[in-house]
């Protein structure tokens, strides 16, 4: 019996091998190519690309700085609008799946459609395209990505914690500040990453909604890989920087989720 069990496990395990090869070839190897390219300049091994980017010769560092600021502002506005939404949805409409769905659905309408529609409306209202319209477009695009993880966390909070806090004499504000918000930290962190990372690396939104005046990090990466410019090396360095940001963000998310698990075990 033991023998046959081993055998079927072996045969079934083999179903994973083609996909493992696929992941290696089309996910890992391409990322390694970026890494190698970052050290290449006209076929020679060099740190010149890093030097060029980090000395801000092409203004890449400035763009990164601007993107981080715009990304941060976008994320904070999304959190400020999204948290009350997710909270109220969880509090009053936890069982109403369709209503929750309505908040998430816009993210499935192509973002170019939404962004170009917003631009058309701004233009017909004679609103000048610039930082304000870019921020509006970013918040409009990423708000559902903030609400989704927040809502998932908030509905799963064990209600007895809130009741316990109330029984122990906490008023509404204290319950919110000392029970609900701390318990929803994993959702907040994952909402922040799901908004912040795409917001700094997107391309097209800032381009469209600023009339090509404001360029973000994603636009900058895009330009380095355009056919007319020949700066794959610097573009690769910028992609690496982006990749590092993604990994850092996810390590933070994983850490907060682990803490949550530990807490729930205790």
């Amino acid at each position: 019996m033991n023998k046959s069990k081993f055998k079927f496990r072996f045969t079934r395990r083999a179903f994973a091998y083609p996909y493992m090869a696929f992941l290696l070839l089309f996910v890992v190897v391409p990322l390694v190519i970026i890494l190698i390219n970052a050290f290449l300049d006209e076929g020679k091994l060099t740190f010149a690309n890093f030097a060029e980017f980090f000395s801000n010769a092409g203004g890449g560092l400035t763009v990164l700085g601007n993107s981080l600021i715009i990304g941060l502002v976008t994320t904070l506005i999304c959190l400020a609008i999204g948290y009350p939404c997710a909270y109220l949805l969880a509090k009053y409409h936890a069982s109403n799946r369709v209503l929750v769905l309505l908040f998430i659905l816009p993210m499935w309408v192509n973002f170019l459609i939404r962004t170009l529609s917003t631009k058309a409306i701004f233009m017909s209202l004679n609103v000048e395209l610039g930082m304000g319209t870019v921020l509006f477009g970013m918040v409009y695009n990423y708000l559902p990505y903030m609400i989704l993880p927040l809502h998932t966390t908030l509905v799963s909070i064990d209600h007895s914690y809130i009741e316990a806090a109330e029984d122990l004499g906490a008023d509404r504000l204290s319950v919110l500040l000392k029970a609900v918000i701390p318990l929803s930290v994993p959702g907040i962190v994952s909402g922040i990453t799901m908004t912040f990372i795409p917001a700094i690396s997107t391309f097209a939104i800032s381009e469209i909604l600023s009339g090509s005046k404001i360029y973000l990090f994603g636009d900058a990466i895009n330009m380095h890989f355009a056919k007319t410019t020949n700066s794959l090396g610097v573009g690769s360095v910028m992609s690496l920087v982006m990749l590092v940001l993604v990994i850092v963000a996810n390590v933070i998310v994983n850490l907060t989720n682990k803490e949550e698990e530990v807490n729930s075990v205790l």
Binding site: V27, L112, I113, Y140, N222, M242
Partner: protein, 274 residues
């Protein structure tokens, strides 16, 4: 209900309504004014179908039709391939030993967490390096779409598989079924809901993709709906023609997703995110 509670409830719903209105306003305005035949958000000629007629007789009609064709071919092939690949590999992944499983699932997460532009750029350079094996055109697009869709398929099937009673499979074997037969007749039906939602996810992701397609379409003239919109409408201001396209696309997308989600509202485990 106490009066204070009622007031709170009204304020809460008012706030939710306001945010929803903000989220939907641009799309609604586009849909309404797609019947004005103009692009300046006015009704100078009253209610007309001119924008919709322009779908068939404007200079972009041919381009739009070809973009639609490629979008459909790409979405169907990418979602079918990634569903099949995902379904079999999830079963395989499930039975890998712990450490390998963890490694595979971590790499599987990469396309989901990675910034789209980094993935797009990495694939572009990869294909450029191996251009003799991967010619420009649909091959590259299908591969890259499968690469970012399959992880979602895997993650929508895995929870279902984890919940399955292993005795069911053993019972099938005891009753004389071959391992492969047991998989087709016992395991697959059980994980079917995960497969279906994985397929729906892959299809919508592929349909919606812009950045990865934009970087990997090459210059064989292939445009999907997203890249065609970007190339055409970004430069000029939005023509009435596009109002009609946007309206149809938004309505189709909303209906599709509402139907899918209402249908699967029973099985909550289909939640993919994380």
């Amino acid at each position: 209900m106490k009066k204070g509670n009622l007031m709170r409830r009204i304020c809460a719903d008012g706030y939710l309504g306001l945010v929803l209105a903000l989220l939907y306003l641009p799309i609604f305005l586009i849909i309404i004014f797609s019947f004005s035949g103009t692009s300046n958000f006015r009704f100078p000629d009253g209610f007309t179908f001119d924008s919709y007629k322009a779908l068939f007789d404007s200079e972009q009609s041919a381009g739009l039709l070809s973009a639609l064709k490629y979008t459909a071919i790409l979405a169907v092939s990418a979602s079918v391939i990634s569903t099949i690949l995902g379904a079999f590999s999830t079963i395989g992944i499930f039975y890998l030993n712990k450490r390998v499983k963890k490694a595979v699932l971590t790499v599987n997460q990469l396309p989901m967490i990675n910034s789209e532009i980094v993935m797009a750029v990495s694939l572009m350079m990869f294909f450029a390096l191996l251009q003799f094996i991967f010619p420009q055109g649909m091959t590259r697009l299908i591969i890259s779409h499968v690469a970012f869709c399959t992880p979602y398929v895997v993650l929508s099937i895995l929870p279902r598989l984890q919940k399955m009673d292993p005795n069911m499979y053993e019972a099938a074997l005891d009753l004389g079924s071959s391992p492969f037969g047991a998989m087709i007749k016992v395991v697959f039906p059980y994980i079917m809901p995960g497969i279906v939602s994985g397929f729906a996810m892959a299809f919508t992701l592929s349909l919606d993709d812009f950045i990865i397609t934009q970087f990997n379409k090459g210059d064989t003239g292939i445009e999907t709906l997203s890249t065609y919109i970007y190339e055409d409408a970004r430069v000029k201001s939005l023509e009435p023609f596009w109002f009609a396209v946007f309206s149809i696309f938004s309505v189709v997308m909303f209906t599709l997703l509402l139907l899918i989600n209402i249908k699967k509202s029973g099985n909550k485990e289909a939640k993919v995110k994380q």
